[in-house]
């Protein structure tokens, strides 16, 4: 099944889009929303790190790496489900 017909293509793209928007929303959360509260989070200290500082220095970065890994794994799964992965 190399070629998708119109309705399969629609389904495939709907699934792909849903994954994209989910990761996009998490990207906004870790890229922006968390740091809106940096001043408040900084009142909490863990191992010497004020939490707001920690999130910008490490926390969000770890989230970004995981989001990219998740995208690769989940999209590959969608491709295989529709049989459009590469040989």
């Amino acid at each position: 099944m190399a070629q998708l017909d119109a309705s399969q293509m629609k389904q495939y793209w709907a699934k792909t889009s849903r994954l994209m928007w989910t990761i996009f929303a998490l990207w906004i959360f870790f890229g922006f929303v968390v740091h809106l509260f940096a001043v408040q989070l900084n009142t909490i200290t863990i191992f010497g790190f004020p939490l707001g500082f920690y999130m910008a220095a490490q926390g969000s970065l770890i989230a970004f790496v995981l989001l990219c890994v998740w995208n690769a794994v989940a999209q590959n799964r969608i491709d295989e489900e529709f049989g459009v992965h590469e040989e």
Binding site: Y12, F30, Q58, A72, N76
Partner: protein
């Protein structure tokens, strides 16, 4: 890789692990030998020379081995680069003088407020992975303007793409030449203006003969050196101070000590405090600029052609996606270390430099003061002791001078210099190739002479490469601005000009040729206008708008104004012009799916 036709052999790809493993081991042994030589009394100058010359020698060797006359090898490394190695190459391509040399310095000076760089220069990869890389790989041509030319039917969009690419990449490469100048000047002991041109040879020798193929395999080598040399000094200090070799965990203690010392020294702007101004108060201007910068850098990441074109080199769409994940992982290793680097450097300065008699300061102060006024000490109150305000240290030398400040053996300084050089050279190579490829492939071959022979195209590419490199070095020798500012401008320019047409071209079929072109011009125009006016004609700008800056946003985040304009104009004009043809919509469908051929739209 060195077979006669200049194409990448499968045996080479199969042995990558062995080759680069051996290479990394060799580099460590080389460093240890120099460490022993230093203990035996070999002068610092010789050690600096060894690091700079030997590493450039290795890159040159790889560059020459990778020479090629094959067009696909020259432009996209034969599309044979496995995800992991493309991730490393992207890491080196990505992490430039700004990341390696300046970012920790920015964090040292700016504290939390500079964290926008750390976030902005990592988070963009999420966008690259979900929005662009796999689809551009499926499209499968040579350059980013190629995509614009195909999706928006013709040379109009292609040319706009080349203009934005040139503006962004050239600004960026000037900053790299500047960084290369600082390092070679300091460690070879030659004047800055001469040092830039010495470094230029280092750039050219990697990229000229082998194009993308040579740049790819040198960048992998450069990543290994840059990550080792960034980690060594911080791991060393972490072990020395806290007994644990994981600086990313232990610098929490350093932060606590810094805060305590800040109170003692009377520093009101705390290192860890978020969005504070110089007086240590919460500031809306800092708050707004933080977001603006994070956004512009992230979007810029997903728009810079020298990064996007790295994903053209993987064997498949799937590998392109995996490669994005590897890229951000390798980049993450440096970025989550940078704040630790800054914290350890600050602690060293507060504890061991401030309060010392100025006459007894160690030699590194003298050495750095000689490199173009990047470090100045003025005994303002003439008490012979160094107070904090009397030490002015440029952000571009914090990383390079930290090993000396902390009293580590000179071999560590040499190592860090080699790392900084690797970072600057690798990015300069990627950028140079992006510019030269756009000019030779998109302008010369696609627009001027479509019947040019392969040999002729490759010669034109090389001539342009050398020309652009020389101009960039000449501009850098005039010291136009700090590294990190120039790089941030490049991100804004790319974001405002390229993000909308690329993303909408894939994700919104209704985007039309006219819509995309007007959107690009409008977005890029607004961004460029704001940047140039606020930078070079602030008086006129104030007369026109009655304010120094729109909403107090600094011009490093100019794309904040260009981006929305680009999207809105593209959207409105697309809806006003006729829907793209059925063939074009089929073309978009075909690049959305990994399997199958790409149908041509025209």
């Amino acid at each position: 890789m060195a077979d006669t036709r200049g194409t990448t052999s499968n045996a080479f790809i199969g042995n990558l692990g062995k080759i680069y493993g051996g290479y990394a081991g060799g580099f460590i042994v080389f460093t240890l030998i120099l460490a022993v030589l230093e203990q035996m009394g070999v002068p610092n100058k010789i050690i600096g020379y060894c690091f700079v010359i030997l590493t450039i020698g290795v890159y040159a060797y790889i560059g020459i081995l990778s020479r090629t006359m094959d067009i696909s090898e020259y432009y996209v490394a034969g599309r044979k680069v496995p995800a992991l190695y493309n991730g490393m190459a992207t890491g080196a391509d990505w992490m430039s003088a700004a990341s390696f040399i300046s970012m920790a310095g920015g964090l040292y000076l700016g504290g939390y407020n500079a964290m926008g760089y750390v976030l902005g220069w990592t988070g963009g990869y999420v966008l690259v992975g979900i929005l662009l890389a796999p689809y551009l790989r499926k499209f499968g041509q040579f350059t980013v303007p190629d995509f614009l030319g195909a999706r928006y039917e013709g040379n109009g969009a292609r040319l706009c793409g080349v203009v934005v690419l040139f503006a962004a990449s050239f600004t960026y490469i000037v900053a790299q030449c500047f960084g290369i100048g600082i390092i070679t000047s300091r460690f070879l002991g030659i004047p800055f203006e001469v040092a830039i041109f010495v470094g230029l040879l280092g750039i050219l020798v990697c990229s000229m003969l082998g194009g993308m193929r040579a740049v790819t395999w040198t960048q992998v080598a450069q990543y290994i050196i840059l990550i080792i040399s960034y980690l060594v000094p911080v791991v060393w200090l972490s072990t020395e101070r806290y007994g644990i070799p994981i600086p990313q965990l232990t610098y929490g203690h350093a932060l606590e000590q810094i805060t305590a010392l800040e109170d003692k020294l009377g520093v009101v702007k705390h290192h860890v405090a978020a969005f504070t101004d110089a007086k240590g108060q919460f500031s809306w201007v800092e708050f707004n600029n933080f977001w603006a910068l994070v956004l512009c850098l992230m979007i810029g990441t997903a728009s810079l052609p020298h990064i996007l074109m790295r994903y053209f080199t993987t064997p498949s769409v799937r590998e392109a996606r995996n490669s994005v994940a590897w890229s951000i992982f390798f980049i993450f290793l440096l970025y989550f270390t940078a704040p630790a680097y800054a914290a350890f450097a600050k602690l060293e300065v507060y504890q061991n430099v401030i309060g010392q008699p100025i006459a007894e300061l160690p030699a590194w102060v003298q050495n750095w003061a000689q490199v173009g006024g990047l470090l100045t000490i003025k005994d303002a109150n003439s008490d012979g002791l160094l107070q904090l305000p009397e030490l002015v240290i440029n952000q571009d030398i914090i990383v390079l001078s930290m090993p000396e400040i902390a009293g580590l053996p000179y071999v560590v300084s040499g190592l860090v210099a080699a790392g900084g050089l690797a970072a600057a050279l690798s990015t300069a190579d990627g950028l140079l190739l992006a510019i030269a490829n756009a000019l030779s492939h998109d302008v010369y071959y696609k627009m001027i002479d479509p019947r040019a022979t392969t040999g002729r195209r490759l010669i034109v590419a090389r001539v342009l490469l050398v020309g652009v490199a020389i101009i960039a070095a000449a501009v850098a020798s005039t010291r136009p601005s700090g590294i990190i500012q120039m790089v941030a401008w490049a991100f804004s320019l790319a974001a405002a000009g390229l993000f909308a047409p690329l993303v909408l071209g894939i994700w919104w079929k209704r985007t039309t040729k006219v819509g995309a072109i007007t959107g690009m011009l409008a977005g890029f125009g607004v961004c460029l206008f704001y940047l140039v006016m606020t930078r070079y004609a602030p008086v006129t700008f104030k007369e026109m708008f009655g304010t120094d800056l729109w909403f107090g946003i600094r011009n490093i985040s100019s794309a904040l104004f260009g981006l929305p304009v680009a999207f809105v104009v593209t959207w409105i004009v697309s809806l006003m012009t006729p829907e793209p043809s059925k063939e074009m919509q089929d073309f978009v469908d075909s690049i959305r799916v990994p399997r199958g051929v790409v149908v041509t739209g025209a």
